[in-house]
Structures are given as C-alpha cells and as structure tokens.
C-alpha cells in the first residue's frame, strides 16, 4: 500500500499532507503531555520496532505469506496518538532512506497507513474489547478485527486517492497523468489484495501479539484497557463465529440494499447506461467493452503476493461480492467510528468523575 512517487498529483499529495498535519500536531502535543521526557526515546524505539516488524514475512492461513504494517499492535499497546507518530516516522524513513513509497506521497501514505489505520484500529479495538479482562480471549478477537479493518480501511482510502486521479488529472487527449484507473477499477483491485492477503497479515500479527502479551507481558496491554474487568470471559468460539458471520453478511446486506457503492460493479461496463456514464466521464471516448477481463488482470498485479486460491475468486460474480465487501468495510467503519466516538465521550465522563 506504499504509494510511490508519480501516482498522485502534487495537489493530492499536498492536500493529504495538509490533512495529516493537524493529526501529527495533536498527537505530538498529547504525547508530550502524557510522556514528558520519555516521549523522544519511546517514539524513536517504537518507530524502529514498527519498521522492523514491517519486514516480517508472516505465514497466513491458506499457505501464503504477507507483510503487515504493525499499526494494529502499535495502537493496542501505545494508543492511537503514539501509533500515528511511530508509524509515520517508520514510513518517512522507509520512503526517504529505503526508497519504499514516494517522497511526495509521504503525506498520503502517512494519512492512510498511520492516521486512518490507527484511528480505525483504536475504535474497533475499544468497542469490541469493551471492558473485558486483560487476559480475556475477547481481546484477541478485538485485536484481530482491529488489525484487519484498519488495513482495509487504509487500503480503501488509498484506493480512493488513486481512483480519483484520472477524473481530475488528464492531458488534452484524455490520457490520465497519474494513477490511470478510475474508482471502479482502483477500489476492487486494491481491496482484493487487502481483504485477502495484507488484511490477514495484519490480523495474524495483531491477534498473535496480543495473545502472546497476555501470556508473557500483560502489563503492556493495560495502558489501552481502562476499566478492564477482572472476570474472565467464558469462550471465544461464539465471538469468532460472530466475527465471521459479520464479515460475510455485511457486504451481502449492502449488495441487497443496493447502496450507491454498487455502481462500481464491473457489470456496469457492459450495461448501456454504465458505459454511457463512463464515456461521458472520459471525454466522450468509447470505453472498451471488456473491462472485467482487464480488471481481472490488474487485480492480480495490484498486490505482489497473491494467494493460491485467488484466481477462481476473480470470476465475475465473486468479484461483485468482493467489491461490495470493500464498501461493507467502509460502512462498518463508519458505524464503528461513530460507536467509538460515543464510547470515548462516555469514557471521558467516567474519567472526569474519577478525578
């Protein structure tokens, strides 16, 4: 998901850096207040840790391997503000020193992978973990979901950034100047890789590290678990099942509801009105009639490691499903963020009362 130089217009890059700046500022102020002199060493060493964890090759279910960003675990251990800063720092060093991710795209990459992902992970983790005990299996599920959704929402943000490029930036002949694929290609192409590989990598890492810390160093989980109860939850089986059902049902529900996101379905390429719209959007040039074929091709290129079972999934009907899964993730996040906001407000009230 590291967007290189040349994929986003300077204006997009500037805008995303400008949007990121207040988040960095607020995070820095909060960290300073919270950590005082400990801030510099803690953020430095933690950013270095995140950097190294990004190099881990994680074995995933299904026999593939993938890389995680580590944003889930950073948020769970240090909270969202420290995570925003630590992941941003790691991304800056990756971009400038190791040439991984563009220099002009630093703002965009930090926005997606550090800011959006940290806040998503935080909201999901807090809501799902609730007041369960530090050692509760529920926290593992919460961490898994937090990591998985964080990466997918970040990928969605990146896909939208890339997908709006051809609409706004093209030369006189209509050739896109930056990322060439419009939203209806960019989003599914990006999301397939992240819903399967990258999201799973983050899921495995977040859940695995939380499970490890529960056994070995539970104190590290206490910082972001205010009001954790001391009573153990009984079983996680139902929780895992609920999580699975949720992940399957949400996109289907959205498909059934026929939400606006459905318009990205590749079927529109063959439908008359869809083609007319695309034609209008691309300077009255006739769109090629074989979009799904091209979609299939680019989807397999978008993220480097594809799972063995991927090709059958790319057949058109499943494709539509995955497409809506992307929108599903988006909707879940909206709900979760709203829930998290309410929860935070309640926590603030509780904390004030405790003083």
């Amino acid at each position: 998901m590291h967007i290189p130089d040349g994929y986003l217009s300077p204006a997009t890059c500037g805008a995303l850096a400008a949007v990121s700046a207040p988040f960095w500022y607020v995070s820095l102020q909060r960290m300073k207040r919270l950590l005082n002199t400990r801030m510099i060493p803690l953020l430095s060493v933690f950013a270095a840790f995140s950097f190294i964890v990004m190099m881990f090759n994680l074995p995933l279910p299904g026999g593939t391997t993938g890389h995680a960003v580590g944003v889930g675990i950073a948020t769970i251990v240090l909270g969202p503000w420290a995570s925003i800063l630590a992941i941003s720092i790691a991304l800056v060093i990756q971009a400038v020193f190791f040439g991984d991710g563009g220099i002009t795209a630093i703002g965009a990459n930090c926005f997606n992978m550090a800011i959006v992902a940290s806040l998503t992970a935080w909201a999901v983790y807090r809501v799902v973990a609730g007041r369960s005990a530090i050692g509760s299996p529920r926290r593992i599920v919460a961490a898994a979901l937090a990591g998985y959704l964080a990466i997918n929402v970040a990928a969605l943000a990146a896909a939208v950034e890339l997908g709006i490029q051809p609409t706004f930036y093209h030369d006189a002949s209509g050739a896109p100047l930056y990322a060439p694929y419009p939203l209806h290609i960019a989003i599914p192409a990006m999301m397939i890789g992240h819903l399967t590989v990258a999201g799973l990598a983050e899921l495995v890492l977040s859940a695995g590290v939380v499970a490890y810390l529960q056994r070995a160093d539970p104190g590290l989980l206490a910082g972001t678990a205010p009001g954790a109860s001391t009573i153990e939850a009984r079983s996680t089986k139902t929780l895992w099942a609920a999580l699975g059902v949720l992940m399957i049902l949400t996109p289907l529900g959205i498909l059934a509801a026929g939400s606006a996101w459905g318009e990205w379905a590749p079927e529109d390429f063959t439908s008359k009105t869809g083609r007319a719209q695309i034609a209008a959007a691309s300077g009255n040039q006739a769109p090629p009639s074989a979009a799904p074929a091209g979609l299939r091709r680019i989807a397999s290129f978008w993220t480097a490691p594809m799972p063995r079972y991927a090709p059958p999934m790319l057949k058109s009907p499943v494709f539509g499903y995955l497409l809506s899964a992307a929108s599903g993730a988006g909707l879940i996040i909206l709900v979760v963020l709203f829930g998290g906001w309410i929860f935070e407000r309640r926590m603030a009230v509780v904390e004030r009362r405790m003083k």
Partner: protein, 269 residues
Amino acid sequence: MKKGFIERTLANLLSASEYAATAEDMAASRGLLQAIDPRIKVAGLFGLIVAVAASRRLWVIEAIFVFSVMLALSSQIKLARLLHWFWIPVLFFTGTLALPAIFLTPGRPVASLRGIYVTVQGIRTASFLISRAEAASTLSALLVLTTPWPWILKSLRTFRCPIVMVAILGMTYRYIFVILRTAFEMFESRKSRTVGTLEPRERRRLAASAAGVLLSKSLHLAGDVHLAMQSRGFRGEIYIMQDFRATFRDWWWLAAFTTLIAVSFWCGR
C-alpha cells in the same frame, strides 16, 4: 522446497542492513554530489522530484531523468546499483501495474487483439506513470546515496522541521539497527532449532511471538535509553549541533538547481 517465512524474514533483514551499509559507504565517498552542502542538495533534489510530479509533458520528465543519471555517474554511483536497487524494482512494480492501463484506458485505438484495444491514451498514461516513478526514485536515491542520514536530518532544521522530529528520526534510524540485529539473532537461533516443517498454526504462533518478544524488548530498551539520556542531562528539550557552511561553490549549485527547477516547471506546464 519453498523457502519458509523464517528464511524470508532473515533475507529481508539482511538485505536491509546490507543496503544501509552500502548507502552509508557511498555517502562517505568522494563525488560531485557528496561535496555539496546537504541543505542545498535536499532542497534541490526535492524540488526536482516535485517538478517530476508536476510535469504534464513526458519529455520534461525524461530530461530530468537523464540529468539525474548524469549526476549519479559523476557521484561515483554505479548504474548497476541503481538498476538493482531502484530501476528494476520500480519497473517491476509500476510496470506491471501500468501495463493493463494500455488496454483499459479509453481512447483512440491503435491496435486490437481479439476485441481488446490498445489505445494511444493508454500508452501515454503508462509512460507517464513509469517515467515519473523511475525519475523520482532516481532522484531520491541520489540524495540518500550521497548524503549521510544524520546530515539529511540536520539540514531539515533549515526548513523549519521541528527539532523533536529531527531528533526522533535520528534516533529511530539508530535503533532500527539495534532491533534489526535482535530480530536477526532471534530468527537465526529459531532456524537452527527448527527441524522439519511446522504446522501452519505453529508457524503463525511463532511469528507472532517473535514480534511480541521484540516488542517487549523494544519497550524495555526505550526505558533504558530514557535513563541514559537523563543521566546525561536530558530534560525534555533536545539540542542539536549543526555546522554546515555553504561555500561559494554551493551557492552556484543553489542557483543551478533553482534555475533547473523553474525551467522544468515552466516547460512542464
């Protein structure tokens, strides 16, 4: 047999430290760009990267790319290294990504293959994407391969980057290598103890525990570093000594970079 995740992680860690070591050696050697004041170099190369990103004309991007290759050659940077570290990976990633655009971009068809059209616009957009990515990666490579990392950071002070960030970026770079070594030793010893192949579940557990151990160790390290800083008078405010002095020659470089960037922006409108 396919390489396991331990071997692959070890390979990643090793290649990162090898890259860093070579970059540091190259930055310390003698060459054209190595001799320029880092502040001017940071500003100049960043300006060129923005010019590459902003240009609406392919030839301007190509011209900047050619210029950056010339700079590389006069700074003792071997083209084979650029090829190996930057050009081929970028071509592989961006190239495969840009390829479908040749067919997918709506426009005037120039060739057809069983109902799939290659369009002029498609070729243009793919060229834009690839040349921008290659030119920008070459320019950022020039910066890192000719300037020691601490100098790049110190020069950021000139551009009003908060001193806290400069300090943290320096310390992060420092501790990347400490944690890298710890991770390397951890996986290395694990590799020697692992006989046969592990169950997938066990493998995931192993990888996550490794990350967990590393996390605990990192936080412990952060605590100790904090004590070491305090012991030497750190009270929360950080101070950095930066003694860059621009020579007459550096001012010439500044003028040259400024002109070049301005011309690129003008021509690339």
